[in-house]
């Protein structure tokens, strides 16, 4: 009896607290932006013994951090390994920021950085010691991702990147008397020939809108522009239309497979030699070698096909950075740790070894593990290909609601792949829905 009374009283109290918490947190997050701006001018070490919380999903990150902890008894880092960003961790970060319980350091993919920025969730660490020195370690396009092109601002340190290239079945191409396609036009011609031989040139990934965004950026497209205050959304610019029409044509002629990627069927299509190429990022090397083990030694990597013969434009798919969340009491120490983690040979070689990360930093490209030939790829030094590609990654600005944009566009791609509507229709409706989503969050949109 007492229990029930207590419980119901507690329930009422809880409900009241929720309402209050809701109000106060709303105020907290909007003022977060202000506090991070003021921190840019001063970033003083707090001194004494400091413990930093670091939430990431990179497996074995604890082993890399253990190296740091051993050398820096005064700046101890405590790692939490959680699920992938889009599998709930970003949502948790937002909740924790609202409740002022966010960790000091978090893992955030490039395409989600703007979402945190517009919510005022990121600390500007530009003034912290050592941060401006590491700028030279990263390509301009990548550095632009973490500064949002703002002056005197650094909101994250790049960790890994996903330069894209063309994985192709060298053996099958040779047997068919074909070279790796250098242009998209050649790629489409090869698609017809490969179809005649009973294969598919590739699989159109209806669910991987971020891959498609990479293809668009390679063609010179820009989906988002942030001119000062306003966001400009344009999912259907000339380049996007060109890329959408190109793939729509391949889908209409049934020259490509349309299996959901990273599934068993999809693996099987590669393993059985049904699908011949994959335009993917550097991390895709492991996806193929584990998903299609019976094709070992038969793959090779070539640069992405180009729109104009002789160009060398590339793009990125995936990759993530480390941010300092606003409200962290120790941004200076956090920045010091992050520059070590993402630019020192010591940390990068560990990250590459235990977590298979392809480092964003140029020092990382010289790691011995990234300069040797891989058996699965016929002893080709594939990482050198990707290092070249990384230099030509076209700049691309991500929007503040990418999760929503991806979901809406991928819905449309799904129906386009099964014959209802086109890829361009999907981009158009994705654009409308993205603008609606931005307005719903009172983010100013230029029309």
């Amino acid at each position: 009896m007492k229990t029930t009374k207590f419980l119901s009283a507690a329930a009422v109290a809880l409900a009241a607290t929720v309402a209050l918490a809701g109000c106060s947190s709303g105020g907290g997050s909007s003022s977060g932006g202000g506090s991070s701006d003021s921190a840019a001018s001063s970033c003083k070490p707090s001194g004494g013994k400091v413990t930093l919380d670091f939430t990431t999903w990179v497996p074995n990150m604890d082993k890399v951090v253990a190296v740091w902890n051993k050398e820096h008894p005064d700046i101890q880092v405590k790692v939490s390994i959680v699920a992938n960003g889009n599998s709930g961790t970003y949502q948790n970060f937002f909740n924790q920021l609202k409740a002022k319980q966010a960790p000091d350091i978090g893992q955030v993919e490039y395409d989600s950085l703007p979402a945190f920025r517009v919510q005022g969730g990121l600390e500007n660490i530009a003034a912290c010691k050592g941060v401006s020195d590491v700028k030279k370690d990263f390509s301009a396009g990548l550095w632009n991702q973490v500064t949002f092109g703002e002056d005197n601002s650094v909101y994250a340190i790049p960790q890994d990147s996903g330069p894209m290239a063309l994985y192709y079945r060298k053996d099958l191409f040779e047997k068919a008397g074909l070279d790796a396609p250098k242009t998209w036009a050649e790629y489409a011609e090869d698609a017809v020939k490969i179809k005649a031989m009973g294969g598919n040139i590739t699989n159109f990934a209806k669910g991987d809108v971020n891959q498609f965004a990479g293809l668009v950026s390679q063609a010179g497209g820009q989906w988002f522009k942030n001119s000062g205050q306003d966001w400009n959304v344009n999912l259907t610019d000339t380049a996007s239309k060109k890329v959408a029409d190109y793939w729509q044509d391949l889908i209409d002629k049934k020259l490509v497979n349309t299996l959901p990627s990273f599934t068993d069927q999809w693996n099987n299509a590669y393993d059985s030699g049904q699908d011949w190429t994959w335009v993917s990022a550097v991390w895709g090397a492991n996806t193929i070698s584990s998903g299609a083990p019976s094709t070992s030694g038969k793959w090779a990597v070539a640069p992405m096909p180009q729109w104009k013969s002789g160009d060398s434009a590339s793009a990125a798919w995936g990759g993530s950075s480390n941010v300092v969340f606003s409200g962290s009491k120790h941004p200076a120490e956090a920045a010091q740790f992050l520059t070590w983690l993402n630019t020192s040979t010591e940390a990068l070689s560990q990250l590459n070894e235990v977590a298979n990360l392809y480092p964003a930093s140029s020092t990382g490209a010289e790691l011995p593990a990234l300069t040797k030939g891989l058996e699965f790829y016929g002893n080709q030094k594939i990482y050198e290909q990707f290092a070249d590609a990384a230099k030509d990654i076209q700049p691309f600005t991500w929007g503040p609601t990418m999760t929503q944009t991806y979901a809406d566009v991928s819905d449309g791609f799904g129906s386009a792949a099964s014959g209802n509507g086109t890829l361009l229709d999907a981009l158009k409706s994705g654009q409308t829905k993205t603008i609606a989503a931005l307005e719903a969050q009172s983010i100013p949109v230029k029309k």
Binding site: M1, T3, T4, L7, S8, A11, L14, A15, T17, V18, A21, G22, S25, D53, T55, W57, P59, N60, D62, S80, I81, V82, A83, N84, S87, G88, N92, N95, Q96, K98, A99, K100, Q101, P103, F262, D264, N267, N268, D271, W283, N286, T287, S290, G291, A292, P293, S294, N356
Partner: protein
């Protein structure tokens, strides 16, 4: 003797009539068109069996797939028949298990123990609380009893998922997020358990027994723990199992509350691994065998508690 006589006569009559029926049915079954009666029952019975068989297959097939898949290496998983064991099943299982229990310094075992702690301990406490609550609602008359009960009924309708975020905000006010308690405390509350307890207490604990206990000088608390709990025990086992499964499967609350992977329950841990499968494909085997191993405690809980699942324990106690 005189009592037995009519019944023996009845038995004899029954036997005779049964024999008559047999005799009557024999020529009937001899006729080709007269076999409709018995055969219809065979058809309907086999139809029922078929439906049940199909559903059993439907429910067991995923588990069988999980069992088969967890005995494979990543290579065999992609290349061999999905519903049958590969040639090297036994040694691969051993390798997989070894890898499962040693990965990240054996964190999987930690997750299992966490799950057992959350589901087992919180389930047990929750069952006791529910039983006390339901018993009070069923056996004591007080003002607002029905209103209170209706609040509990309302609580049954609120999904646990909807409460996770408010709970997170509340727990963060008292700095309890990312602790054992942030998952444990919300888990001991079960409105559905209260509802079941009230129903079971009303039906299986007769007022007369409580009164008899009072007359014998037993206090209310003692009556509850020594008399009522025993009479309600089949119901309590049911509530415990419900609670245990609900906590075991409550995935969203730990997802929102916890950051420290050493506090994860096994569901969240496996989810964490699964979310990285695209980039670290060797985790797939770990997720599969981890999922399979993780259903074993649930199976054990169900099978071992099943024998307590008898009802009507106190039904013969009166008269």
């Amino acid at each position: 003797m005189s009592v037995n006589a009519p019944s023996r006569r009845d038995a004899k009559r029954d036997a005779t009539s049964a024999a008559d029926a047999r005799r009557a049915s024999r020529p009937a079954s001899g006729r080709p068109d007269g076999t409709r009666g018995p055969r219809e029952s065979v058809i309907s019975r086999s139809a029922a069996m078929l439906v049940m068989g199909v559903f059993t297959l439907y429910f067991l097939l995923p588990i069988f797939w999980l069992l088969v898949s967890s005995t494979k290496t990543v290579t065999n998983f992609n290349s061999t028949a999905p519903l049958w064991f590969s040639a090297t099943a036994i040694q691969d299982t051993i390798t997989n298990l070894g890898e499962l229990f040693t990965r990240q310094d054996g964190i999987y075992l930690r997750w299992m123990l966490n799950s057992i702690a959350y589901a087992g301990v919180a389930g047990l406490i929750g069952t006791v609380l529910s039983a006390m609550c339901g018993y009070a609602l069923a056996k004591y008359r007080f003002r607002g009893r029905e209103a209170l009960f209706n609040v509990f009924l309302g609580g049954v309708l609120v999904p646990a998922t909807a409460l996770a975020l408010p709970l997170f905000l509340i727990f963060s006010q008292v700095d309890l997020t990312d602790t054992f308690w942030s998952v444990f405390l919300p888990s001991i509350v079960s409105p559905f358990g209260v509802y079941l307890s009230r129903l079971f207490a009303a039906s299986s604990v007769p007022d007369e027994i409580i009164e008899a206990a009072r007359i014998d000088g037993s206090g209310e608390v003692r009556t509850f723990f020594t008399v009522a709990v025993r009479l309600m025990s089949p119901a309590l086992v049911t509530i415990f199992l419900f609670q245990f499964v609900a906590i075991w499967n409550n995935f969203f609350l730990p997802l929102v509350m916890l950051r420290d992977s050493s506090l994860f329950p096994v569901t969240l841990g496996l989810y964490t691994w699964n979310s990285s499968v695209n980039q670290y494909p060797d985790l797939r085997t770990m997720v599969l065998i981890g999922s399979f191993v993780s259903i074993i405690p649930l199976l054990v809980a169900f099978l071992s508690l099943q024998r307590f699942w008898r009802s009507g324990l106190g039904s013969g106690g009166l008269k």
